[in-house]
């Protein structure tokens, strides 16, 4: 009872400021203008297959960004875990630093680096490696680079934490039994990091689903993602009911992915 009294204010804030609006948002999708229950908004969204295609495009881009993150993040975390303590400290600090820089600044910085007249292209042109600028930006490549940059810490930090916790004696035992370094990595080290890798990748994937600024700026709005569509349906047209339906679908997809992950995780254990 006493405990509840202490928690109550926070609970009320959570329910009032977070849960109730979400329930209201979910309910809006079933609300007709006359004030009764309707499935018309859902029917309208499913009829216009384009909105579902935007959802599919969002899932695809998020998957690409997640794979890019894993390919970059795993080797980085592995390298970091092998450093001496001071080196690890510096590396962790470098990985975390971008968190203190606004996402807008970081996104625009990529334009300075990767633009037609940016650092990379002007260097390559001056060196004679290329004859015309490579188009890094305003396509899926630009979006993937930008998202990987923003999301990398979310993958690297849990992965690094898991890797430094691995008992070194396990690896020594495997070596003493005659395993090659490759075998030790794939049979012993890698399986031990899979839960953290899965959790980190899932976190990155779910965060990717809601990206708005990066596709708008680095994708030049040529890359369709769901947040941009929601912004339009809420602020420009306004069809809040349809926005509610699409948000609900996005929530369901996210929960299904999460449930799949949980199941995989449990079967792995």
């Amino acid at each position: 009872m006493n405990g509840l009294a202490f928690v109550a204010p926070l609970l009320l804030v959570m329910i009032g400021a977070f849960n109730a609006p979400i329930l209201y948002m979910l309910a809006l999708g079933f609300w007709s203008k006359a004030g009764g229950f309707t499935t018309a908004h859902y029917a309208a969204v499913f009829e216009a297959s384009v909105y579902l295609k935007v959802l599919a495009s969002t899932l695809r881009i998020s998957l690409i960004a997640t794979v890019a993150n894993v390919l970059l993040g795993y080797p980085l975390a592995y390298w970091m875990s092998g450093l001496r303590p001071t080196g690890q400290l510096v590396a962790v600090a470098l990985v975390i630093t971008p968190f203190w820089i606004s996402i807008l600044v970081r996104t625009y910085a990529w334009i300075v680096v990767l633009g037609n007249a940016g650092l990379v292209n002007s260097s390559l042109l001056a060196l004679g490696v290329i004859t015309e600028p490579i188009r890094f930006l305003y396509n899926e490549l630009g979006v993937t680079i930008g998202m990987a940059n923003v999301l990398l810490p979310f993958l690297v930090l849990p992965l690094f934490a898991a890797m430094v916790r691995i008992d070194g004696r396990l690896l020594q035992a495997a070596a003493s039994l005659g395993a090659t370094p490759a075998t030790i990595f794939w049979k012993v080290f890698f399986p031990l990091t899979v839960p953290a890798l899965g959790a980190g990748a899932l976190l990155v994937f779910i965060l990717s689903l809601g990206f708005y600024i990066t596709p708008a700026i680095l994708g030049g709005n040529r890359v369709s993602m769901i947040s941009n569509l929601l912004d339009k349906l809420i602020n420009e047209i306004p069809r809040w009911e349809q926005a509610s339906v699409i948000s609900t679908l996005l929530l369901i997809v996210t929960l299904v992915i999460f449930a799949l992950y949980r199941r995989l995780d449990r079967s792995a254990a």
Binding site: A48, V50, Y51, K53, V54, S57, I111, G115, N116, A117, L137, Y138, A216, G220, N221, R222, S224, L229, K232, I234, N235, E236, I237, P238, R239, W240
Partner: protein
Amino acid sequence: MKRRDFGKLASIGLAGFVWSPAVGSAQVKEIRMIEAGGKSGESIEEGYIKPFTARTGIRCVRESPGSLGKLRAMVESGKITAALFELGSGSLSQAIPLGLVEPLDWAAINPQPMFPEARTDHGLGYQYFSTVMAWRKGVKAPRSWADFFNTRDFPGKRTVPEYPHYCLQFALLADGVSPDKLFPLDADRALRKLGEIKKDIAVLWKAGAQPPQLLKDNEVQYAISWSGRVVGEPAIEMTFNQGMYDLSYFSVPKGVSKDEKDAAMKLLHEMTIAKNQARAAQVVSYTGPSPDLEALLPREKFSEFPTVKQNKSVQWQQNAEWWRVNGESVNKKWEQFRLNL
């Protein structure tokens, strides 16, 4: 302080807080407005709020940005935090049937002469802006939208708005439709035309600051842009020819108190005075709704303004009402188009 005293004090404070609007109702000291922000907001401060405060003693606090979603949330929650709300022509025509705005009291506004399209039941068109073609100095200059869409003879990357209602009309003009036949708009035909140059559309922009920046950085060579963002830029050329003029309106959110609305009408009156509009136009190159404004604008910057006769006569007007009815269905086609880029 003992706890009970604090409670007593708090309840007095609370009572004061609750009652203060009623006490102050005889005389509004301050109203709030939500506007688009940036230079445009500064021009409102300079041109209209200063003379309004000087005349009435009422302050006006500006907030930005606004969106139709924000207005809807404000009205539906019943917490009206602004007496004036800036809306684009499209948003205004959406807001009226949704019941989000009050009719204006034109007798109280007592306007000076203004262009007829700027005086509507629910909104005062206070600022003209144009959507025009612009290009980087040094590239081959297009003279028509047909040129703009001709990427063979006018090679270079394009940027166009990620707003179908600021974009599709130009594709139709390029395809040979005359300005007076644009509406009802054939969205499929427009998107087909736009699809012809999709390889050369580098960026679909959302923020008005993007096209001038992309032109300056040489990311694109041709742009559809809002006029005020590109006029007077040394590295950029533009033309009002075949451009589209449009209006931004000020409206009153439904449910605002009578006293605040009365004060707001006085501020709207200031927006109809040509002298004030000339002062606002010095801050940003958009113009107010007075036909008498032309005589007050600086001669050397004449060609920058959307509504001087030489510019207004070569342009055509946006059709917000058509977009209100058809915006949602066009948007679906637009999203489909973007998926295939």
